[in-house]
Symmetry: C2
Subunit: 500 residues, 2 copies
């Protein structure tokens, strides 16, 4: 009598591997030309044959086009960054393929069991994973998720077999046997993981991996299908749906009220007689707090946005003057490099994050998405409209990690800008600071003002607030910014009960 296993094996025998492999190679070239990025991840039981399947799959890819990542326990260096940092870093560039042997799902399965994660923490992790995959999918990434299943009995057999061979003996660790004994506990975690993260744009395929060839055949079929569909979709170039042309927000995140730029009083001035001493005092206090952040390993992220010539550079200079240069970094954000533009737009910001305990000061930031990129048409309407929610999520991840975040809009009025532009033009050593682009941007003042007002409105969250800095008077702006940072740090440290 034919058993189920016999049928599976017979099917695998019938599968035309040669034809499938040729098809994958051809499709991969097409995917590359179409600049479609692909993520293929494998989760599953120890000894379920992930290596075997990945080993065969990648033989069909052009080596210039893919990379395999093995995700193990977090290293000490990795622990100094937010949970999703090491995954965001590894997303493929457009047209390329990242293959993951274990992935971000390690955190909500193996790590979850081992570190006895709380329900709230687990929920947050799932949320971050769904945000991550959702954002990438929106950006055109194809995501395929495979789970390789074997029974407890089969796992034991495979561990024994590995152990019996001198060359592979070391591969089975005490850890592996521990997992084996706790098979049911992990089964529960894996099942919940799949249930909670199966999405049309990032579907799971569970494979019976007791027969390796059968599992490989299914992987080939699914990879071929996904690549064909992606190419077809790309060709169709559908018009964006009405839903895509609405500003996307996240239900959980409720921005705080913030005034419009036109409501800001720009006449504030700092008493020149007090400036020098007050600046020193503020810098000293910031220096003390910096030490405290370092000691408690909390990162601080300061975003500077503002009108051209609003005085970002000078403001940052005063802020950093008293700081230990080994603990902070100014990250100037210009147009993306050729490599950066080949990735989802937040990739370069994920990569630039400070280590815990350090300060990162962004001279311009991810908010370029909803200002210059929006106004100059460097991204589509659907892209900048969903960016508000994406940036809120990004900052929420930073906040969860422990980062203290503050964002500045350095505000001046049109007349003040003109005065400063002219001064730069007329001062030889400042002339490099002013470009034709600055003058062109100035002509678009109204469009920028609308964009900035919307940006402030949608992204002024409790955990990453905006502060509008009145900057017609530079002295006023500088002391105001440093004091805002001080207040923010003190408030956050107070929550921890960690304030001196």
């Amino acid at each position: 009598m034919e058993t189920e296993r016999d049928i599976i094996e017979a099917e695998a025998e019938k599968f035309d591997f040669d034809a499938a492999e040729k098809r994958i190679a051809v499709l991969q070239q097409a995917i590359k030309e179409a600049k479609i990025p692909v993520i293929v991840l494998f989760e599953g039981w120890g000894a379920s044959g992930k290596g075997y399947i990945i080993g065969h799959l990648i033989q069909n890819f052009d080596p210039r086009s893919f990379k395999v990542y093995t995700i193990g326990e977090r290293t000490a260096d990795e622990r100094r960054f937010p949970a999703m940092h090491r995954y965001f870093e590894k997303i493929p560039q457009y047209g390329r393929i990242s293959v993951f042997d274990r992935s971000w799902y390690r955190d909500v399965s193996i790590e979850r069991v081992e570190e006895k994660m709380s329900k709230a923490e687990l929920d947050r992790r799932f949320k971050e994973i769904l945000d991550f995959e959702g954002q990438l999918s929106d950006d055109g990434y194809v995501i395929l998720k495979f789970f390789l299943r074997i029974s407890k009995e089969e796992q034991k057999k495979r561990f024994r077999k590995l152990e019996s061979d001198k060359a592979t003996k070391w591969r089975v660790s005490e850890e592996d046997w521990k997992h084996h004994r706790d098979y049911e506990k992990y089964l529960h975690a894996f099942t919940e993981m799949i249930d909670r993260t199966d999405r049309p744009y990032a579907p799971w395929l569970q494979l019976d991996a007791e027969d390796k060839k059968h599992a490989l055949a299914l992987v080939y079929e699914r990879v071929i299908e996904a690549m064909e569909v992606a190419l077809e979709n790309k060709k169709l170039k559908q018009a964006p749906s009405p839903a895509a042309l609405r500003i996307r927000t996240d239900d959980r995140i409720i921005p705080q009220p913030i005034p419009k730029l036109s409501e800001i009083d720009l006449d504030k001035k700092y008493d020149p007689a007090l400036y020098k001493a007050d600046l020193k005092k503020a810098q000293k206090r910031l220096f003390e707090l910096h030490n405290q952040l370092y000691r408690t390993r909390r990162p601080l992220i300061i975003v500077y946005e503002g009108w051209d010539a609003a005085g970002k550079g000078g403001n940052i200079k005063r802020l950093t003057q008293g700081l230990d240069p080994r603990g902070y970094e100014v990250i100037p954000v210009a147009a993306p490099t050729t490599e950066e533009i080949q990735h989802q737009y937040l990739w370069r910001f994920w990569k630039s994050l400070p280590k815990d305990g350090h300060i990162a000061i962004y001279d311009r930031s991810w908010y370029g998405r909803v200002m210059v990129e929006r106004i100059e048409g460097f991204c589509t309407e659907a892209e900048w409209k969903r960016a508000f929610a994406e940036m809120n999520c990004f900052e929420e991840s930073l906040h969860r990690w422990g980062a203290i975040i503050i964002k500045f809009w350095l505000h001046i009025d049109r007349d003040e800008q003109l005065r400063r532009f002219e001064e730069r033009q007329n001062t030889p050593e400042k002339r490099w600071k002013i470009t034709d682009e600055d003058w062109r941007n100035r002509d678009k003042w109204d469009a920028y003002e609308t964009s900035v007002d919307e940006m402030l409105h949608y992204t002024n969250t409790e955990y990453a607030p905006w502060v509008i800095i009145e900057s017609n008077d530079k002295k006023f702006a500088r002391i105001r910014a440093i004091n805002a940072v001080i207040d923010r740090i003190e408030a956050e440290l107070e929550k921890d009960g960690d304030k001196d």
Copy 2:
């Protein structure tokens, strides 16, 4: 009576900091435009004021142009790479500045004392440092090295002061006090370090740092002078000296004899009846050895060079077919990216190294410097002529780290190449593999043959040997390559007494 200290302080008072800071800012813009890369490193005693000086120095730089690196103890991740890896990674791109708070000199001072380094190891480390700085200097990097001196007495005073302030108390560790007690031991190490590495192209300046302002003034003076000289030199654009137009070799490294390409017998063929079984056997053996490498944490580096259409892709495919995909990576080397071309040419290869225990297979490599770059004029004559020694040193560093290295030249003759080109042209699914460039390269066969013969001659070292693979018969070439890798691994493991 005026003491020496009084005089120093009076000098510092007289120094025009404002003028120096303006001058540095102007020079830095010029350096940026001239695309001159600058490395400024600070070594010195604990609490000698490195932070103070770096903090002031960087305030004069455009934040887009510099980065500060603090070099601490090697992390677990860093320990998986060669000693110089983490430094090479951090060299600035052309026109930018890397500022180091401690540097590669940490290894031959602090680490030397703490890890009780052997004399031979210490000599090697010094050699690597001199190679590193020499290579960068040859490439146009400006290197400035400052050592901040304070007396044992002064150090004690400063530690006490830091400890007395709540905000800075944590900065003085048990470690620091230990160093303090061993002041003389470290003094000896620092002195030898400076003596052995003071070079005209990378000079040390020792600073009396008991007066911080005085030390800062000296740093400013030296930075200004170095930038001015570098700009002047760049303007002069001297013709290369006769010495620069000789092929550079390293006295310690004696290449092994190797035949010329014209002496290779290309008629070798593999018996087709044996091929399949022998290939499987070789792959199985390689799989076993891969496990052993992984277990003993030895990295394996395989370089594939060869004529266009010599069969590199197919050869690599057979080599990797049996390997665990999580333990190897194929690194295709194409034209450098815009970021890569802004660094010394070996930078991208240092960055691409495998972790210990892993295999990196380079599909083309750093040897492009003495082939395509030489022939197409992408580098100067002086550049490719010194590259032989540079690449020998690079590979020596890899070897010292524990890497097993083997380099293949896949050799075919002109007729075979023509046959393969035509076949590619006439087969639709292979047509993407052949480009106009391939045909142009073919016309330069003689120039390439001369270059390849020279490359083999100068870089066939004992620790990183070339193997010329007769590749007119693809089957022969594939089995020959795998077996050469097997032999090389076995010979190296045997040295360790670690062979099964």
